[in-house]
Each structure stands twice: as structure tokens, then as C-alpha cells.
């Protein structure tokens, strides 16, 4: 059986196509200097301020609801809490959008002060022949135990396979994984943008421990 396993959830958002149709113009309108994260000036990867979940627009509100519902379902599935215990937690979430332009990428990062990281795909560029890693979300391997390899550990089947884990974004789908896993969006080799919403999420137990501001 696998030990030390990390959960990686894939959640199709049912209203995805309709939601994306409403989000696309909103995001396009806000792809401006006023909404850009001032710490991320990369011209080939527009990253917004981390305030998308505070937008009052209906599409943003629906997206927040859909992403958090999916995230709660996943976290409940991998935890031992009863529904009643889980309901006592309060959810804290922040989100931004990103436009990964052709030849752009989103460099490696983790999400400190959050337990979960989620990516929702608003639109994905078409696959590029011979470039299977174009615009993929890549989660980094960090186990040093594979420094010694022989034929019996270099081709192990999933979930034991050593190496990075990749996900090719699909419009209307969200993925969720622990925020401590370093990740990046690989270079987009297509000729259109990859549009993503990234959220970091944590749960608080009211009255137990105050979490640092994020």
C-alpha cells in the first residue's frame, strides 16, 4: 500500500462552460495594470492581485462557491472528521487569476500559510503536437530517496513512480493539492493564452488558534 501519500483531487465543475463564458470577459477587462500583482511584473504571465474572491461580480461569486464546494468535498474525503465536526470549521480563501501567454510560464512556488492550493481552468490552449509539457501544471518531486536507483525503483508504477506529477489544464476543471508541494505552470508553447484561477485555502477552528495574517 502507498505510504506518505499526497492527495491530488480533480474536480469537474458542473456549471463550468457557462461559468467560463461569464468569467472570460470579466478577466479580460481586469487584465490591466490596476489589477496586476505589483510583485509579478512578468509580461508573459499576467497575475492579478489576490482579491478575486472578493469581487462582487456574479461570475466571481459563483466561481468562489463552486471552488470551495469542491475543495470542501475533497478535504472531507481525505479527513476523518464527521460532517458535524467539519461544519464547525471556517474556510479562509484567497484567489487570483493568471494569463499565461505564449512562451510564458508561472515559476515555481508554494503557498505558505495555507493547507490547500487549487487551480481552476477558465480556458486552455489547444494541445501542441510534440510538446506534451506545454502549459501543464507541474508538481515537483522532492523525495531524495531516489538518488540511488537501480532497475527496480526507476520504473515503478503509479502511485510509486518517482518524478514530477503533471496535469494538463482542462477548461471547467479544478485540481486541489497540498499547498506545501512546490509547483509551476510550464512554458505555454501554444499560440493562445492559458487562463487559470489559483486559490489558496485554509480552515480555522474558531476560538482554538489564531492563524497569522496572509
Amino acid at each position: 500500500m502507498p505510504i506518505f501519500a499526497a492527495p491530488f483531487g480533480t474536480v469537474p465543475i458542473l456549471e463550468g462552460p457557462e461559468l467560463n463564458a461569464a468569467l472570460a470577459p470579466l478577466i479580460a477587462q481586469r487584465s490591466s495594470t490596476a489589477h496586476r500583482d505589483p510583485l509579478a511584473p512578468d509580461p508573459l504571465c499576467f497575475r492579478s492581485r489576490e482579491d478575486l474572491f472578493e469581487w462582487p461580480d456574479e461570475a466571481a461569486v459563483r466561481l468562489r462557491q463552486a471552488m470551495l464546494e469542491g475543495l470542501v468535498r475533497l478535504t472531507q474525503a481525505v479527513n476523518a472528521y464527521t460532517d458535524e465536526q467539519f461544519d464547525a470549521f471556517s474556510v479562509q480563501a484567497r484567489a487570483r487569476f493568471a494569463l499565461v501567454r505564449p512562451n510564458g510560464c508561472w515559476p515555481i512556488c508554494t503557498v505558505p500559510l495555507a493547507t490547500w492550493c487549487a487551480f481552476y481552468c477558465v480556458s486552455a490552449p489547444p494541445p501542441v503536437a510534440a510538446r506534451p509539457d506545454s502549459a501543464v501544471l507541474r508538481l515537483y518531486e522532492n523525495r531524495f530517496g531516489f538518488m540511488f536507483m537501480d532497475p527496480t525503483n526507476c520504473r515503478m508504477r503509479a502511485p510509486y513512480t518517482p518524478g514530477h506529477h503533471v496535469w494538463s489544464p482542462v477548461a471547467g476543471t479544478m485540481v486541489i493539492f497540498p499547498g506545501t508541494i512546490a509547483h509551476e505552470v510550464a512554458l505555454n508553447r501554444a499560440d493562445s493564452d492559458l487562463v487559470l484561477v489559483k486559490a489558496r485555502v485554509r480552515f480555522a477552528v474558531p476560538g482554538v488558534q489564531e492563524l497569522p495574517p496572509w
Partner: protein, 216 residues
């Protein structure tokens, strides 16, 4: 109140060696001419370990067996730097190492616009090194262009940050090590350290030589 002085030291440290080849222009010019002339199928790595990027040429791993004088001159400089680094951080003596055979896999990369190399480490080697033949143009709009980025080995240590640990000084800071290599510079590091080359956005070429070493 604390009585007496507090001593702070570094634990779990990762050794990095660095050296520069003086007057490297002639050697680098010869290497660049040789490497670009051999960007062909014959010299390309036939078994790449990662998805090949057409913007980055990767040679076979036998570079230091090429007989050309410029390659052999580079070989001496790079491998001597690796050995010196090992001697500085290991309890093995020069005599100990002299009794061993030092093996290497060595190759070169030529990167062009939007070329990069995914994060990786090097199983079955103890020491790795990267030598810079040509750093490529810096690009003002892309300050992260063509960096050699080493990942912090303390994965997950930055998961909880508060003012007490968010601004630690070097060498304690929880952050990757990013290096913009200069021509003639070589950096030596343990092969277990994950590292990557960030996308290069210069309109010229970025050329490096990498080696993995092990002792038997």
C-alpha cells in the same frame, strides 16, 4: 533573561563550490564554435531523461571524452574544481581520492529564445557542476531569464510563516538560490539538489556545460 552569549550556527548545510576561470575568453570562444558546429543529430543526446525542448540542444553525455584541446582544457578546470570542493567539505583526503577512479557524465546545452530545463536532480552521482561558456543577453523585461535556480532542500519548511521566520538572513533564509552565471564561472553542488534553468528570453544563445561525478 538569557545569561551569556547565544551562539547560532548553521545545521544541515548544503555545500556549494564556486570558481572562475581567468582569461576565459579564448577557451570559451573555441568551445562555443565547437559546440554550435555540433548541434546535429549525431551529437544530440539520443535518450533525454526529460521532455526535449526544441529551443535547447542537449549533447550526448560523453563530452569530456572528446579529444579536442579546448574540451580537455575545460575538463581539467571543471573536474579539478569538483575535487577541490570535495576536499574542502569532506573528511576524505587527497590521497584517499587519488586511490579512486572519478567518473563523470558531461554534456553541453545551447539554449535559444524560450529555452528552459525542468527541475531535476541527478541520481547515482555525488557531485554535479555547471560551467558557463556564454551567459546570453540579460533581458530587462525578464529579470528571471536564464537563471540557474536551486530549490531549497528544506521542502515544506516555509509552510508556516510568521514574522519570526519570514525574513531569516542567509544562510537560514527559506528560499531558492538563483544564480545568473557569468562566462568562466563554475558552480559545484551536491547532485541531490533539485535545480532548473528558467526560460531564457535573450535573442542570442546561452551555453553551459554540466557534469555529474561519482567516485568508485
Amino acid at each position: 533573561m538569557v545569561k551569556g552569549g547565544i551562539q547560532v550556527r548553521s545545521a544541515f548545510a548544503v555545500p556549494f563550490g564556486e570558481a572562475r576561470l581567468k582569461n576565459c575568453e579564448r577557451l570559451n570562444g573555441e568551445l562555443e564554435a565547437l559546440f554550435t558546429a555540433r548541434e546535429t543529430q549525431e551529437y544530440r543526446n539520443p535518450m533525454p531523461s526529460h521532455t526535449p525542448q526544441e529551443e535547447t540542444f542537449e549533447s550526448r553525455f560523453n563530452l569530456f571524452r572528446w579529444p579536442e584541446a579546448c574540451v580537455q582544457e575545460l575538463r581539467r578546470f571543471v573536474l579539478d574544481t569538483v575535487v577541490e570542493t570535495v576536499l574542502q567539505v569532506s573528511q576524505a583526503s587527497a590521497a584517499d581520492l587519488a586511490r579512486l577512479q572519478m567518473h563523470n557524465h558531461t554534456w553541453y546545452h545551447v539554449s535559444r529564445y524560450a529555452g528552459s530545463f525542468v527541475a531535476h536532480n541527478h541520481p547515482l552521482a555525488s557531485w554535479s557542476a555547471v560551467y558557463c561558456v556564454r551567459p546570453g543577453q540579460p533581458v530587462a523585461a525578464h529579470p528571471q531569464s536564464g537563471l540557474l535556480r536551486f530549490m531549497d532542500t528544506r521542502a515544506g519548511a516555509d509552510a508556516f510563516l510568521d514574522p519570526g521566520n519570514a525574513r531569516l538572513r542567509l544562510p537560514f533564509a527559506l528560499q531558492p538560490l538563483e544564480m545568473r552565471l557569468e562566462a568562466g564561472q563554475v558552480v559545484v553542488f551536491p547532485s541531490y539538489v533539485f535545480h532548473e534553468v528558467t526560460p531564457f528570453y535573450g535573442r542570442d544563445t546561452r551555453i553551459t556545460v554540466a557534469t555529474n561525478c561519482w567516485f568508485v
